[in-house]
């Protein structure tokens, strides 16, 4: 028992900054927002209790809400896997001992660096514009140009491309993960005459699985929360025809443009539950595919 107490003490000592920060800056705002979600609150006047009205309105009489859910799910389902696969692909490509590789890494990370800037919106508009390079390329291939900003489906895909293009962060984490796989494992496999693909599936993937789990969870959460690209690219409208009305964008509009902070808070708690369910499924599944070296393969 003595050691048990001691372990608890050390554990809580190490995570105490998080607990203190959580109690100081996060829990009260969280409770407040949960409370707001049951109220009509316009930011200026005291909130008024209205029970579940916000939640009911969302699912019964707000077609834009349903639209934003739909758009967000497409965005997440297409964006996360595509981005992760490209990130892993590039990370593998750059995980070599070439002298130029440091430069390559930096260069491949560049798109992620300009991603959040205001410049990206106008840049993207020019690239996907009627006379932009993308449509020129399409025409060069004998295809019809696409009205990327005028067609709701095309506009959403353009946002997905933008997300994939910024694979840099996931790539970097994959790279760090790849580098921490002991070289000796590969050497041993080579001695046994393992092919490239065998090494990939039997060494790389299992050894990388904790990092894959991390990237999957974080990208899923992050993609659900995407706000800036949708905001800047649609000039804040979520258009055309609400085709890029991502969840966070609609939530922001409700809260800060229409001053329905109660409704926005309810939206936030619904998405929290949705993301929590999805994330727990991913975590649950991780028991079957994630390999922790420190825990004897579990």
């Amino acid at each position: 028992m003595q050691t048990h107490m001691k372990q608890n003490l050390w554990g809580y000592l190490f995570i105490s900054p998080f607990i203190i920060g959580f109690l100081a800056f996060t829990i009260v705002p969280m409770i407040a927002s949960l409370y707001f979600s049951f109220t009509s609150y316009n930011l200026f006047n005291p909130p008024e209790w209205i029970g579940f009205a916000n939640y009911i309105e969302m699912f019964t009489s707000d077609p834009r809400y349903i639209q934003s859910l739909k758009v967000t799910f497409i965005y997440v389902l297409a964006g996360v896997p595509l981005q992760l696969v490209s990130a892993l692909f590039v990370a593998m490509l750059l995980n070599t001992a070439s002298r130029a590789v440091g430069l390559y890494r930096t260069v491949y990370y560049l798109p992620s660096l300009i991603g959040g800037s205001v410049a990206v919106a106008i840049m993207w508009r020019n690239i996907f514009g009627d006379e932009g390079i993308i449509n020129l390329a399409l025409q060069g291939l004998g295809l019809d140009p696409v009205r990327w900003f005028g067609n709701p489906t095309a506009a959403l895909w353009m946002l997905i491309f933008l997300a994939i293009w910024q694979f840099g962060s996931s790539m970097l984490i994959f790279l760090a993960g790849l580098k921490s796989i002991p070289q000796s494992y590969y050497e041993a496999a080579s001695v046994d005459g393992g092919s490239y693909f065998q090494k990939f599936f039997h060494i790389t993937l299992p050894m990388l699985s904790p990092v894959i789990l991390f990237n999957t969870v974080m990208q899923t959460i992050g993609t659900f929360m995407t706000f800036v690209p949708a905001y800047v690219i649609s000039k804040g409208t979520g258009g055309p025809l609400d085709g890029t009305l991502l969840y966070s964008l609609y939530l922001f509009k409700q809260g800060f443009e229409f001053f329905h902070m109660g409704y926005a808070s309810a939206m936030a708690w619904v998405i929290l539950v949705v993301i929590a369910v999805i994330t727990s499924l991913i975590f649950y599944s991780s028991k079957f595919w994630v390999h922790y070296e420190s825990e004897g393969g579990r």
Partner: protein, 279 residues
Amino acid sequence: MRPKHIKKIIYHVFVSGLAVLLLYPVFWLIASSFKETGQIFATAGNLIPKPFTFENYAQGWQGMGNYGFDTYIMNTFVYVLLVLLGHLISCSLIAFGFARLKFTGRGIWFAIMIMTLMLPSEVLMIPQYIIFAQLDWLNSLKPLVVPAYFGHPFFIFLLVQFIRTIPRELDEAAIIDGCNTFGIFTKIILPLLVPALATTSIFTFYWTWSNLLGPVLYLNSPGNYTVSMALNMFLSNETVSNWGAMFAMSVVSLIPVFIIFFIFQRYVVEGISTSGLKG
């Protein structure tokens, strides 16, 4: 030519070709920053500025009001470095706790931590703002910097995942050598965590550098503004936006981030392999 060389050439052609494709927008941004504002849209398809002008840089660097762009860059540096320090210290401590120590309630606290990532920050904003107002922290860096010293879930989780890939035998060896828990953290885990900490630094640097919402809310005095706020002020919703200056200063503000990445990426990939760890 030997097949090994051919393979190498194919590799470089492919990797640099893909890079050019991905970088087209970046080239576009840089090219536009040297164009006259009137030409940016008229010659959007052309990557060579004609005429070539430094005017945008001169104009943008002047900044606005009484503050030049250098002020905004300095402000941003101070802000970023304070946050970076906070993240490195707090996140590694917390991550070690979650990854290596068994204590009652570990799972619950970890779940709570991940959960805080899932609530859209927009709805936390107002209550948080009110708290900081009560503390009299408005119009200062405190609301932006102090929370960094209490960890950031993203980086904690990242570090946890990396620590879990470090074999436990190392800890046990250290215990035999007489290390206590804190000793294991500083002597065994921290050195092996360098790649993940480098990753943390890169992300923290860039995210903080480009953070807009926090500075907008908490920095009222123009003398304290950050780069991202300044960039927005080149745009106008009523008259003509100064695109040229905005692009030029976007390029300038990318340089520090670029340099930081170039320096730190080495540690991301070299950490463990040079420390001679065998699994």
